[in-house]
Structures are given as structure tokens and as C-alpha cells.
């Protein structure tokens, strides 16, 4: 059933005429052309598809696009403002918090939402907060270091 869905996507008002049951992941990747959000498992297990909806990390593979009607949606593409990387993105580069990079957008978006809620999180809390995002390359130690630096160095995500 087609319906009108309005939301803000990376700061821009967006209107879609589409079947509200389609999943957010595929609407983002196809209709909206935002391919930074990745498919990894399709069942809300790996976190590769994580986007931030109203400040919270959401697994876009497992929610209908209708659920973001009226919401504020941020994808990995939206973290970079005016060509300037977000401190988390900078920290991931600086610390080498990626290898193949496929889990990276989901990791960064999850960390972004997590740090908004826990700006001064301890290392242990960060580990807990990232627990459900999978990385097969084993970049974990450096991902935590990157997030820690943002939490403690720069005073949390803006």
C-alpha cells in the first residue's frame, strides 16, 4: 500500500510515496541512493545497517520505512558536514578502527548514538554499548580506542 512518508534525512526534509512496509535499509540504498548503510545479516544481528533515528541506533534492515514517518534520520553520509568529517570518523581513521571497512558505517552510527546518550562513557561501557555490532576483521581493539578518544578527548559526540 502506497503511502506518503515524510521525515528529515541527514538534515533535509524528505518525502516518499511508497509502500510503508518496505524496510528502511533498502529504501535508503535504492530509492534514496545512500549506499553507506550496509546489509550484513538482514535479521538485526550484525549492526552493519545501523542508522540513527531520533537519536537512537536502529537496525534499518528490520524496521519498515513507515516507522520513520515524522522522524529525524541520520545515516553515515549525514555525519560528514560540509565535507568535514565528524570527530568519530576522524578518530576511526586516526586509530585504524577498520580493516575491510564494511562494518564501519554501522559501527560509527552505533557509537554516535551511544555517545549521545553516554558522552563520558568508560571503556567498559563502550564495550557493552558496541557488543552487538559484529566485525569479522577483528578491528575491535582499535574501534574501542577510537570511541574512547572521542568520549574522553573531545568531550563526547556533538
Amino acid at each position: 500500500m502506497k503511502k506518503t512518508i515524510r521525515f528529515r534525512l541527514n538534515g533535509k526534509p524528505t518525502t516518499l510515496e511508497t509502500d510503508g512496509d518496505r524496510t528502511l535499509l533498502w529504501v535508503l540504498r535504492t530509492d534514496l541512493g545512500l549506499t553507506g548503510t550496509k546489509y550484513g545479516c538482514g535479521e538485526a544481528i550484525c549492526g552493519a545497517c545501523t542508522v540513527v533515528v531520533n537519536g537512537e541506533a536502529v537496525r534499518s534492515c528490520s524496521v519498515p520505512v513507515s516507522s520513520v514517518d515524522g522522524a529525524e534520520v541520520v545515516t553515515i553520509e549525514g555525519l560528514t558536514r560540509g565535507g568535514k568529517l565528524h570527530p568519530l570518523q576522524e578518530a576511526f581513521i586516526e586509530h585504524g578502527g577498520f580493516q575491510c571497512g564494511y562494518c564501519t558505517p554501522g559501527m560509527i552510527m552505533n557509537a554516535y548514538a551511544f555517545l549521545r546518550a553516554h558522552p563520558k562513557a568508560s571503556r567498559e561501557e563502550i564495550v557493552k554499548g558496541m557488543e552487538d555490532n559484529l566485525c569479522r576483521c577483528g578491528a575491535h581493539q582499535r574501534i574501542i580506542a577510537a570511541i574512547e578518544e572521542v568520549a574522553h578527548g573531545a568531550g563526547g559526540a556533538s
Binding site: T30, T35, G36, L85, F98, G101, T104, A139
Partner: protein, 710 residues
């Protein structure tokens, strides 16, 4: 026979435009002769210096996380004497890059590195010759730094590479005289510039195969059997065909539904009705080992010295062990994905593959096209670990595109990924070893089934040795299995080193000798001694006999892989109630020859340790016959953040040796180091991986029962 259609020189020079182009071709070279045995005869590398002074490297290698997109330009910048950021790299595109057999086996740096460096050194020599002409001084009077050639002592008499390249079309092949710079002279190699793929990967802008979108593209979903070996008996696609916009393809073994929207294609597939005949499952996760032992045959003796039978009689202690390990998945987070556009006798393919050139040649054959008309482009690959070498999805996408006349994407679902993976094979090792009264290993009778010979050789000084290998992860070894197997990060070595280095600790504990001490007592290989001692120093190893008991323990294990020597030391905590093993700390020391990029090397070591936790503690594919029971990450458990230990890496310098492999070595001792630490923590010896909580609990309960009964 693999066809090797590199693009020809004329075509290449036309493609890259003006400037200075250096090729490394078939011309035999003293420099390369010793290293090229493992490399195809017609290896080519291309390098171009453009008129603006920028340097472009064209390589058939691909970037899947191992960092070669950064380390290769480092090698070029070093030898050519240009700034690192003046170098660009084009990778894995069969229309622009020279033929390459694929990215695997830790060969990129070891085998391809020297060639690439030679090309850059040759380019430097060309530039110097041109500069000598231009400046009117002999070459010996020139110095070059940062892409600027100047007269020694007269820095204003200078000319840039860009100026020298202007208006020229120079084509050179590498000759034997290309002299590589020494490690002591390095300014770019041996440093750790930020990775060139960083921005792409943190911003979401970098493309993986599935991110390529073409006008009119269809997403395909393909009918899959419920089990390997199942036969289709009935098929009804009429309900699927009724969905507006769905195309149904039914050709030979390929039944697919396609749609412009991926989810509509999913729905269409769910409406395909199919019945299957499933064969009786001949074995499963638990009984596979008996099957392997039964069918693998005696194998081949790969190494033998002394008299094993006599040594067995003479040994003071004889130890007889059998080790097991199940199938392990590659499980890259990016599933196999390919987009193919086949039309008017040409095919362009974007593939998630470790082998763009072999894939191109295979596709040409399958599609009936001239390889010249098939182009495989490899964007970033989201993890490979050996699992993206075969590429069923590429054949399927190309066929479907040829049939429908539209660009087609095939992206495996996670369940397909687990079904069509080429798993690390289940394997068995039978090992009899002996110790004399002085703690010298006197006997080593080793038989490995289904893992192959990588890592099976012994590096201890043992007088009586027999090593035999039956089956492996390639060739006829595949016939032992019900589903695909193939290379998995350091193929076979994980199993072999698990068995070998567990056995050393079994002997050490029985003889009441510290496990590091026992190793040193039996080791004259200087490189291995140095690495082991470096690890012991970094760890703070104090001699003690295992087990300590009480749920906390430490372990050690050594390995040699891809020319690199590695020792791991680990601390574990075992929850004696729950049976969970937590690895708290891992020290990894490694001698990998000259180090091109220290941070990159450390990242690979950390990746090895972290990924290795999986096959040690939680990862084992479950199946009944050809039916794969693990279909997603909810039951097939990858290591998560909380499982990751504190990892400390030590790079043991060895500048006398050319760069060796870095992507695989540190994973091979993981099984043994954890098993040895668990033994130290509990007194329980595990002969099978993974050491899941259930298995640890069961072993603890059995031990408790035995203790209570005595």
C-alpha cells in the same frame, strides 16, 4: 589451463596517456628469479609517472582490509623517491591492471612486493637518466628526493619528475640492475602513514560491489536447495510470475526471480513452490571425523627422518593424541555480491572477489565471450579471508544478465552465505611423540587428515620424524566433503599448529617442565628462538609447570607461516560453573622480515588474534548431511567486543630479510595458545576445537565426577 590475457602494451600505453611508464614483464631478472617460482611467468606490473609528476600504480591485487592499498604505494614512493601522497593506486580492474592470479596466501607483499619495488627503482633510474641529459651532468652527480632531481651541492639546479615526463612516451621494462634501497635508508617504508582507504570507509562513500547501481538493474533471488545434493522434483513459479514487474528465469539448474526492487524479488522467491528429494545424511557435525578417517586414505609422507619405530621403543614417555576441529566459515560481513552487465557481446562485472583475473577468464568461458570483452572491476571487498576466491554469485549474475539483457545484481543472503561458503574443512590429526629423560623430544609421528600440509612441518630439532598428509583444502581433498571447502586464512595451518603446539605442552606438563623451557631446549632455529624470547620478555613469562588450576591460566604457542615467525602468549579466565573461557590478554611477537608498514602489520596481527578467538571458542558449522543448520549470526557465533583481549603486539626487527607475509601468521597458533592456557587454568586438555562452554562444562563435570569417585 588458465588463460592469461593481460592487456597488451600498446593498449596500455594508449590507456594511460603520456608520461613515463615502467613495466615489469617476462624478461628474466636475476633480482626476481629466486622469488618468482611461486608467481606466474608472465607477471606484469605497471607504473606511470604523469606529466604533473603524479605516480600511478596499476596492480591486479585487491583491497579487502589487509591494507595493501596503502603498503604498495609506500613501496613505490620509497624506491622512486617521491612523496607518499604523490602516489595513486588502481587495483583489481582487469581492463586497466596487469594480470594477477589473485590476492591470497600472504603473497602480495612477499611475492609481488619485490617486483613492484623493482619497477619503482627502475623508474627512478629512468628519471635520473633523463635528468642527467637535461641538466648536462653525469648521473652520479645527481640526487633525488620528493620527485625532484638536483645536482649534488647545487639545489637550485633541479628538475622535477613531472617536467621530465612532459611530452614523453617512454616505455621501459625492468632490467636486472634495479637496485633496491636498504632498510637503513628507508624513509617511507617502515613508517605508518594513515591508510589511503580511510576516508572512503568512514564516510560511507567507498563503494563495495553491491553499492554499484546501474540504470535498469534487476535484483535477482535464486532458488536454493534445502541441502547440498538435493534434487528438484517439482517446481511452480506461477505465483511469483504474477507479481507485477517480476521476471522468472528457469534455465537448466538456474531458477531465479528478478525485480527492480530487491524486496519484491525476495517476495517473489518466497512464492516459488519447489519440492526436493533430499539424500539421506551420511554424517553430521559429530560423526564427520570418523568419516574423514575412514575415507581419506593413508596419504603421503611429506617428511621423514631417523627411525620412528625404534624411537618409540626407546622413548621414556610416549604421548599419543588425536585432535579434531570442525568446519569454520569465513563469514565476511559483506556477503558475496556481484553486478553484471552483459550486452552486445561484452560483459562488465563489479565483483566482490579476491581473484578478478581468474574470474574474468572463467566468465569468458561461461558466457562464450572473448576474454578481451569481459571486464571485471573489483571495488573494495568487505572481507575475504580466502572465502572470496570461487565466486558462484558472479557466474550467476553474469548468466542472468545475459539471459535478461539487463544489468543484474546477485547478493547472497546471510543464509546463502553460510550455504555456499567454501569452509575451512573439518580435520583430524593423529600424533605420537616421545620424550627422553632430558626433556628432548625424540620422536614425532604425525598424521594429518583433511587439513593439508601447511604448517605441518616441525621446527623443533627432533631426530626421528614422520609426517604424513591425507587430503587437504584443495584439489581432490574436496571430495571428502558434502559441501564446499577451500582456503581459510592460513589454510590448514590453524589445525596443524593447534595439534603440534598442544602436543608440546602435553609433553611439558607430563615431564614437569615449563612449556617455554621445553621449547627452547628443543629449538636451535635462531629466528624462532628470538621471537619466542621476545614474546616471553614482553609477557613477563616466569618459568612454572602447568597446570596452575583455579580457573586462571596462561599459554604459549609458536608457528611459522608465510615466511613469518610468530609466538603468542595468552592469559585466560575459565568460569568453572558456566564453562566460558575468556581470553584476557594476548602478547603476539612476530618476525616478518622488513616491515613495510608497522601499524598495518599490527592491525593484521590484532585481526588474526581476534578472528582466531572464534575458531577456538565458538565457531563450528553445524550440519546434518548436506543441510547446513547455521544460517545466521544468531547461532554461528563470531567473537564480539566483550570477548576481545588486550592485545599487545611486538615486531621483532629483521631487516636482513625481505618483507614476509603478515595477514595470516598470527592466527595459526591461536588454537594451541588458548587450549594450553585452558589446560593451565583447569588441568583439562582439550583435543577438539572449538572449546565451547558446553564442552568445557561437560569436561569439568566429568573431571569433578572422577575426582569425587577417587
Amino acid at each position: 589451463m588458465t588463460q592469461r590475457h593481460g592487456i597488451d602494451r600498446r593498449q596500455f600505453v594508449k590507456l594511460v596517456g603520456g608520461g613515463v611508464v615502467v613495466l615489469v614483464t617476462t624478461k628474466p631478472s636475476a633480482l626476481l628469479a629466486q622469488r618468482r617460482r611461486l608467481y606466474p611467468e608472465d607477471l606484469n606490473a605497471y607504473l606511470r609517472i604523469a606529466e604533473d609528476g603524479r605516480v600511478t600504480v596499476f596492480t591486479g591485487k585487491i583491497e579487502m582490509g589487509q591494507g595493501v592499498m596503502t603498503s604498495q604505494p609506500q613501496m613505490v614512493a620509497e624506491e622512486l623517491r617521491v612523496a607518499f601522497d604523490a602516489v595513486e593506486i588502481v587495483m583489481g580492474d582487469t581492463a586497466r591492471c596487469p594480470w594477477d592470479m589473485g590476492t591470497f596466501g600472504s603473497l602480495t607483499t612477499r611475492m609481488f612486493g619485490p617486483v613492484l619495488r623493482a619497477a619503482a627503482a627502475e623508474a627512478r633510474a629512468v628519471m635520473l637518466r633523463l635528468a642527467a641529459e637535461k641538466l648536462g651532468v653525469p648521473r652520479s652527480k645527481l640526487v633525488v628526493e620528493n620527485g625532484v632531481v638536483s645536482v649534488t651541492g647545487q639545489p637550485t639546479r633541479k628538475v622535477t619528475y613531472g617536467e621530465l615526463a612532459k611530452g614523453r612516451r617512454i616505455l621501459r621494462t625492468v632490467d636486472d640492475k634495479a637496485v633496491l634501497r636498504k632498510a637503513s635508508e628507508f624513509t617511507v617504508m617502515g613508517t605508518s602513514p594513515l591508510r589511503l582507504d580511510g576516508h572512503d570507509k568512514v564516510s560511507g562513500a567507498g563503494h563495495y560491489a553491491g553499492d554499484v547501481r546501474l540504470p535498469g538493474m534487476l535484483y535477482a533471488r535464486i532458488l536454493r536447495p534445502p541441502a547440498h545434493g538435493a534434487k528438484l522434483t517439482k517446481l511452480d513459479t506461477s505465483a511469483a510470475a504474477k507479481i507485477p514487474g517480476v521476471t522468472v528465469v528457469n534455465k537448466k539448474d538456474l531458477v531465479a526471480v528478478l525485480h527492480a526492487d530487491p524486496e519484491t524479488a525476495d517476495q517473489a522467491l518466497s512464492r516459488v513452490k519447489a519440492s526436493w528429494d533430499k539424500p539421506q545424511p551420511p554424517f553430521d557435525t559429530e560423526t564427520v571425523f570418523d568419516h574423514l578417517v575412514k575415507v581419506a586414505g593413508k596419504g603421503e609422507v611429506t617428511s621423514s627422518r631417523g627411525d620412528v619405530a625404534a624411537a618409540r621403543t626407546a622413548a621414556v614417555h610416549v604421548f599419543e593424541s588425536t585432535f579434531h576441529k570442525g568446519y569454520v566459515a569465513h563469514a565476511p560481513i559483506e556477503p558475496h555480491t556481484t553486478i553484471a552487465d552483459v550486452k552486445s557481446g561484452k560483459a562488465t562485472v563489479w565483483a566482490s572477489t579476491q581473484t578478478p583475473f581468474p574470474t574474468r577468464d572463467r566468465l569468458a568461458e561461461e558466457l562464450g565471450l572473448d576474454p578481451k570483452n569481459v571486464r571485471v572491476i573489483t571495488p573494495y571487498v568487505g572481507g575475504g579471508f580466502g572465502g572470496k576466491s570461487a565466486g558462484l554469485q558472479t557466474s550467476e549474475a553474469a548468466k542472468l544478465s545475459q539471459i535478461t539483457g539487463k544489468p543484474v545484481q546477485v547478493r547472497f543472503s546471510r543464509a546463502e552465505e553460510f550455504f555456499y561458503d567454501t569452509f575451512d574443512p573439518a580435520a583430524v590429526v593423529k600424533l605420537v611423540s616421545g620424550l627422553d629423560a632430558n626433556g628432548k623430544v625424540s620422536l614425532w609421528d604425525y598424521h594429518v587428515i583433511a587439513a593439508g600440509d601447511r604448517g605441518a612441518a616441525v621446527f623443533y630439532d627432533i631426530p626421528n620424524v614422520s609426517i604424513s598428509v591425507a587430503g587437504g583444502w584443495h584439489g581432490r581433498g574436496r571430495d571428502l566433503h558434502l559441501f564446499g571447502i577451500g582456503p581459510w586464512r592460513a589454510p590448514g595451518a590453524n589445525m596443524n599448529v593447534f595439534a603440534k603446539e598442544s602436543q608440546i605442552d602435553i609433553m611439558a606438563a607430563a615431564a614437569r617442565i615449563d612449556p617455554v623451557e621445553l621449547r627452547l631446549r628443543n629449538l636451535t632455529d635462531e629466528r624462532m628462538r628470538r621471537v619466542l624470547q621476545a614474546a616471553a620478555k614482553a609477557y613477563g613469562w616466569k618459568p612454572r609447570v602447568a597446570p596452575a588450576g583455579k580457573g586462571r591460566g596462561r599459554g604459549v604457542a609458536c608457528g611459522i607461516d608465510a615466511g613469518t615467525y610468530v609466538t603468542l602468549m595468552a592469559d585466560v579466565t575459565v568460569d568453572l560453573e558456566k564453562g566460558t573461557v575468556h581470553v584476557d590478554r594476548v602478547v603476539a611477537a612476530q618476525d616478518m622480515g622488513i616491515i613495510v608498514n608497522p601499524t598495518g602489520a599490527k592491525m593484521q596481527m590484532e585481526g588474526c588474534v581476534t578472528q582466531g578467538l572464534g575458531y577456538c571458542l565458538s565457531e563450528e558449522l553445524r550440519f546434518t548431511g548436506g543441510e547446513i543448520l547455521d544460517r545466521n549470526f544468531d547461532t554461528y557465533l563470531l567473537p564480539r567486543f566483550s570477548a576481545v583481549p588486550k592485545i599487545e603486539t611486538v615486531l621483532v626487527r629483521n631487516d636482513e630479510l625481505d618483507p614476509q607475509g603478515g595477514g595470516e601468521p598470527a592466527i595459526v597458533p591461536m588454537g594451541a595458545v588458548i587450549a594450553n592456557a585452558v589446560f593451565d587454568a583447569t588441568g583439562l586438555r582439550f583435543y577438539r576445537l572449538p572449546m565451547t562452554p558446553e564442552r568445557v562444562r561437560a569436561a569439568l563435570a566429568k573431571k569433578g565426577a572422577t575426582a569425587a569417585a577417587t
